[in-house]
């Protein structure tokens, strides 16, 4: 099973296995990884599952679609080129080791 590495707000890392087809957001919720709120449950309506994808994986993750890109303009923390909504990144074998950094805050 592929793994996701979450870098928490305090800088520590949590490595968890996330089944293929499951989102990086759900992987965090199901493993009690703090800092990802996902208020809308993953339907791309709330921008509270914001993460920064680490540079090594930037090219491996498919780019955001129009809705996600638009919603990203409203994240609570700073929007960076590496910003993504983790509910929109589904795990694949090729993404094994995907490392994402959790932002300072998710709510306004």
């Amino acid at each position: 099973m592929p793994a996701v590495v979450y870098i928490l707000k305090d800088g520590s890392e949590r490595r968890v296995e996330v089944p293929e087809g499951t989102s990086v957001m759900l992987g965090a919720i199901q493993n009690n990884v703090p800092g990802i709120e996902a208020e809308c449950g993953g339907c791309c309506s709330c921008a509270t599952c914001h993460v920064y994808v680490e540079p090594a994986y930037a090219d491996k993750v498919p780019p955001p679609d129009l809705t996600e890109n638009d919603l990203l303009s409203g994240v609570a923390a700073e929007r960076k080129p590496s910003s993504r909504l983790s509910c929109q990144i589904n795990m694949t074998a090729a993404l094994d080791g995907l490392t994402v950094r959790i932002p300072e805050k998710q709510s306004l």
């Binding site: 199901q30 009690n32 339907c43 309506s45 921008a47 809705t67 919603l71 409203g74 306004l108």
Partner: protein, 407 residues
């Protein structure tokens, strides 16, 4: 010894009160009592992706087992809180158990409003609130041919989207003269109704239901004007009633909702309440209001948890809501009721636009269709009490984000 916090309820507000209390450093025992057989789970997908099979059961729990274990939050499931013994500081459960508490949180939610007409108890007449309701509805939908939905609110129209997409003949009967009458303004309601009609939904406005007919199983819906509509599945989606009985019997102040202040405290200072069941003051409304939304449940729960933890954190988040119907992503922020003017930004015929609502020249709400960025910006503008002029809002070339930057 400390009895800690007892939370009555099993949904968003209950889970969030427990989680936020721990984040605030509340170290006493926390117990959540819910009559449902499972821990708190997502409800919005139940009328959308879950029914359509796109959201799987494993994705529904709001918190993992690891959360309850690691946070030392005990779930007491399948147990109904029957009464509150205020002098004895305990909650009495349906199985006779008594749970002593120092602090109590009521997150009892709401239940679907029944339709007081003959035939409401026929087989095939369903409600949608819980996961069990959704499972029953999904099973029934698979074998149905003629679906009638009573009520053109969010639940009604979301279910209509799923049923139409599943190839059923679907009719919505709505008493008001427009869809989503409680939630959106007339112009947007007409736009949404047109999208549904174009997909094949039969919408009957200004129509009432006087009887559900059938022999054991529902067969038809009889409207107030005598029209009969064939039906082998009827969803009653005419709103909810807040679950106030437990609070009321204990003597807490209630008025179509458990009355709380800005700190989510009820008329008893030891008891807080959050979510669909409360009536609360709002900086965005003239009157105390009751909101049925995930946002309200989560944000009011955070306030309730802060209060329990001895931190004053008034609940003043701008209300927001969302709904997904077909490929329409509807997002609403603020409360449009009482607006005296409205302007549209973007082009409705493109299916991507927002409506800005004003009252005495100030922005009070924004409804967005497939414009999530404008919705998020609207949340920031309304929270900061910033108001673009109607001319600026209507001008797609005007940089609204710039208003935030200047503030």
């Amino acid at each position: 010894m400390s009895h800690g916090l007892v939370v009555v309820g099993g949904s968003y507000a209950a889970a969030q009160i427990a989680a936020s209390a721990r984040e605030q450093g509340y170290a006493e025992p926390i117990r959540i009592v819910s009559e449902e057989p499972r821990g708190p789970y997502q409800r919005p997908p139940l009328s959308k992706g879950y029914l359509a099979g796109k959201v799987l059961p494993a994705a529904l729990p709001l918190r993992s087992e690891a959360f309850y274990r690691d946070s030392k939050v005990e779930l007491i499931l399948g147990a109904r809180a029957e009464s509150i013994d205020l002098s004895g500081r305990s909650v009495v459960l349906s199985d006779g158990r008594r749970l002593a508490f120092d602090r109590l949180a009521l997150a009892t939610g709401a239940r679907p409003r029944p339709l007081p007409v003959p035939g409401g108890g026929l087989e095939g007449v369903l409600f949608l609130r819980s996961l069990a309701d959704a499972d029953a509805l999904r099973t029934r939908l698979a074998e149905a041919t003629d679906v009638v939905i009573v009520g053109a609110g969010f639940i009604g129209l979301e279910f209509a989207s799923v049923a139409v997409a599943a190839g059923k003949k679907v009719t919505v009967v709505e008493m008001q003269d427009r869809v989503l009458a409680r939630a959106v303004a007339p112009g947007l309601a007409a736009f949404i109704a047109d999208v549904h009609r174009a997909k094949g939904l039969d919408i009957r406005l200004g129509a009432t239901v006087k009887e559900l007919r059938g022999n054991r199983r529902v067969e038809s819906v009889i409207c107030g004007d005598g029209t009969s509509i064939r039906a082998d599945l009827v969803l009653l989606a005419i709103g909810v009633i807040p679950n106030v009985e437990l609070a009321q019997a204990a003597g807490l102040a209630c008025q179509d909702g458990i009355i709380v202040d800005r700190f989510a405290t009820t008329s008893d200072p030891r008891i807080v309440s959050a979510g669909d069941c409360t009536r609360h003051p709002s900086a965005y409304a003239d009157q105390p209001l009751r909101l049925e939304s995930v946002q309200n449940a989560l944000d009011q729960a955070k306030t309730a948890a802060a209060t329990i933890s001895g931190v004053a954190k008034p609940y003043d988040t701008v209300p927001w809501f969302w709904s997904d119907q077909y490929d329409l992503k509807l997002q609403m922020v603020g409360l449009a009721a009482g607006h005296d003017s409205a302007v549209t930004r973007g082009t409705p015929s493109d299916g991507r636009f927002s409506v800005f609502y004003y009252r005495r020249g100030s922005l009070i709400a924004i409804d967005s269709v497939n414009k999530p960025g404008e919705h998020m910006l609207g949340r920031k503008l309304l929270t900061a009490r910033l108001s673009p002029t109607p001319e600026q809002a209507a001008d797609s070339g005007f940089d609204l984000q710039g208003l935030m930057a200047k503030a």
